[in-house]
Symmetry: C2
């Protein structure tokens, strides 16, 4: 809540310690770090057993896609993967796949960070020309939050409009909310039961940390997030084809897909491939993920230009030095400076970003100045989103959310 433009000595001292923080917490419900530069992703890769997206993989991705990768991949914001090489092998062999991503709708309005997986998903969809399914876990939100079924369902629809405004192609994209879609297609529940038959309480206890006092809805829920990784959950798109899937998501969602990858071969499906993003920093710094329930922790997609300006000026954690003299002498720290991090996510021009980084690190660019650049970069992005969001009518929403054929030709006849 307080003005955090001036980093305290304590905060700066984190830089000096070479040891990574011992107690990052990363699971689908909690992301916290003790370091101002945020979660230690190298450690996380080791802990989760995923693989780093290295230069060779980026290069290969560009080769197969036939175009430069999206800045969010190039800049290492998508930093980790599972089986992306295997997926690219299949693509090169002429096999089809589809994309699956999602969102837990816990508030009417999304913030900028929520866009990140969708932006890369859109890039992937266009690069590979593949169908995409987007899950809104309104059931999860009812189970975990103080939200009724009705409230969660309403939020899912509002969030879907924001997602559509990103520019997905209605001919290639199916958006569904669990509390609604479950009643539209029995294949969804049937796959959930198949998955729930393969996973014990002991396993979800180990993966998600569930305990005896958790409600049974939570214990069963992971199967609902796993099911869309099985193409037969969408018979109207894929018939009975058992297709490979690529799942772009923030790394806190990985536990769901570790479980899914365990189950896949037992149900005769290929293991889903994943690419993981790092976390978008809260305005108050990278120690926490942004929270949709704290209006001051993030730039929201509904914010006015003035609100964006005030939020960043007032709340964006600064990597600058306490005094002008010190800043000029020692330079700012772009690793922890939230304004710079925002630019890393949303400023498309690589050269300009590098210029800013060098200039801020040298102390030429001041805290107030880098904030101004961040504000002026984000304001038009948010304003543009609002214009596009306004065009998303209930009719368009219905189109996206109606089970239907997409631009995919089934290899075999549709099953029942």
């Amino acid at each position: 809540m307080g003005d955090q433009q001036e980093p305290s000595v304590e905060k700066l001292s984190v830089e000096d310690s070479n040891g990574a923080p011992e107690d990052d917490v990363v699971d689908p419900w909690t992301v916290t770090s003790t370091s101002d530069s945020g979660v230690d992703y190298d450690k996380l890769i080791k802990r989760f057993g995923s693989s780093r997206i290295d230069d060779a993989l980026v290069e290969r991705l560009e080769k197969v896609a036939g175009k430069p990768v999206h800045p969010l991949i190039r800049r290492g914001i998508f930093f980790s993967h599972r089986d992306l090489h295997t997926l690219l092998n299949m693509v090169e062999a002429g096999k089809k796949f589809y994309l699956y991503t999602g969102r837990g709708p816990s508030s009417d309005s999304m913030h900028l960070g929520h866009l990140v997986p969708f932006i890369v998903t859109k890039w992937l969809q266009e690069a590979f020309d593949v169908p995409l399914v987007i899950q809104l876990t309104d059931d999860e939100k009812t189970l975990w939050k103080d939200l009724t079924v009705e409230q969660s369902m309403k939020m899912a629809r509002e969030n879907a409009k924001d997602i559509i405004a990103i520019g997905f192609d209605v001919n290639k994209t199916f958006i569904f909310a669990n509390l609604d879609y479950m009643g539209r297609c029995a294949a969804f529940y049937q796959n959930i039961i198949r998955i729930q038959k393969c996973v014990t309480f002991n396993q979800v206890k180990g993966i998600f940390g569930f305990g005896d006092s958790d409600v049974i809805g939570k214990i069963g829920f992971p199967a609902a997030q796993a099911a869309p990784a099985f193409s037969t959950t969408f018979p109207f798109i894929f018939g009975s084809d058992k297709l490979p899937v690529l799942i772009p998501c923030a790394i806190d969602q990985d536990p769901y897909f570790r479980m899914t990858r365990d189950v896949s071969p037992r149900l005769g499906f290929p293991k889903p491939a994943l690419i993981h993003s790092s976390f978008f920093p809260a305005l108050q710094g990278a120690k926490t993920k942004m929270s949709a329930s704290d209006a001051n922790s993030a730039v929201f997609l509904t914010d006015t230009p003035k609100q964006i300006k005030n939020k960043i000026n007032k709340h964006a954690f600064s990597g600058g030095k306490p005094t002008l003299e010190e800043h000029r002498q020692f330079g700012g720290n772009t690793e922890i400076d939230v304004s710079f991090q925002l630019l890393r996510f949303f400023l498309e021009d690589d050269e300009e970003l590098e210029k800013i980084r060098v200039s801020y690190s040298k102390g030429e660019l001041l805290s107030g100045e880098i904030k101004k650049i961040a504000i002026e970069t984000l304001q038009p992005i948010v304003a543009d989103h609002q214009v596009k969001r306004k065009d998303v009518t209930d009719e368009i929403l219905e189109q996206f959310m109606t089970p239907r054929k997409l631009n995919y030709e089934c290899s075999v006849k549709k099953g029942k």
Copy 2:
């Protein structure tokens, strides 16, 4: 498997012990007793906390229904209840209610015992002219048995045809199988989530004995059996009315509804009322419930007259004495004699039944003779069922299983 016409000394000795067996097991998956007369129902009522259906309640039921109760109630085969007085109060006050019963379809063919709850349900439906919903828990069978989703779904449809052949009125009856209906009406899943939000693993552990190595599908399943006790699970019948429900079922299903009754007030619904039946004896004796997976343990609805004759002659546990002389002197024991028990369930004429009881107890009627009566009583019932079953076409099945209005007028407009 062996010929059990001649009770062993060990079996007879059970009679002598006055103490009830200490280790009856009664839960939705296991029913065993150490006594030849079967489960100790008085103890069960105490243990479960339900109430005995006494003469006063039977009398009241007849008064409100305006006709004599069904023999299965009059003879104490339906022996226990929860809140039936409360339900009758509401009926007398002019309030509406509905009936809910069900079946777990674990084999293509049902046996005679499976008919029992449905026969009484039909009597209740006709006596009170109320809508009825019948759940087939094919999801449960997939989770508990070595059955695929497809196999369970097929069995559900086959069982539904047997249920329809009992003579339910299509204008008042909706039959649904979970693995199919879940995809036809989102209200079902929405109520499941509401229920699953109210129940912890600790609770289902206590109620059902689930453990950490159980699959998560089992842990979540009780909510699927609870949901039809909430009238909003069927918006096409009841709109948004929150109606009282009466559930006729075998007493091993009571744990599900204890859980349901716990949740109901929290979701703004009246607690379901219940009437419980005792168990239909296996041919081998009342120590176990019949098993649909053991062809010799029961008379099946698909059996030929000859099969019925052979099964009863060969396998029906006898309460007669080992020798003709002893039998003439001491008489048979109708409490443990399976043929007599079959007559108690299926011989409609009270006077004739009493004559048989007295005559067999005195040793006038012999084992072979009572078996003959049982055979001749069951043969036409099964043959008649087969004739009616043949008339149940796929079209009629579809009618029963299609979500639609029944003969119920909603008190308020349908919600979404």
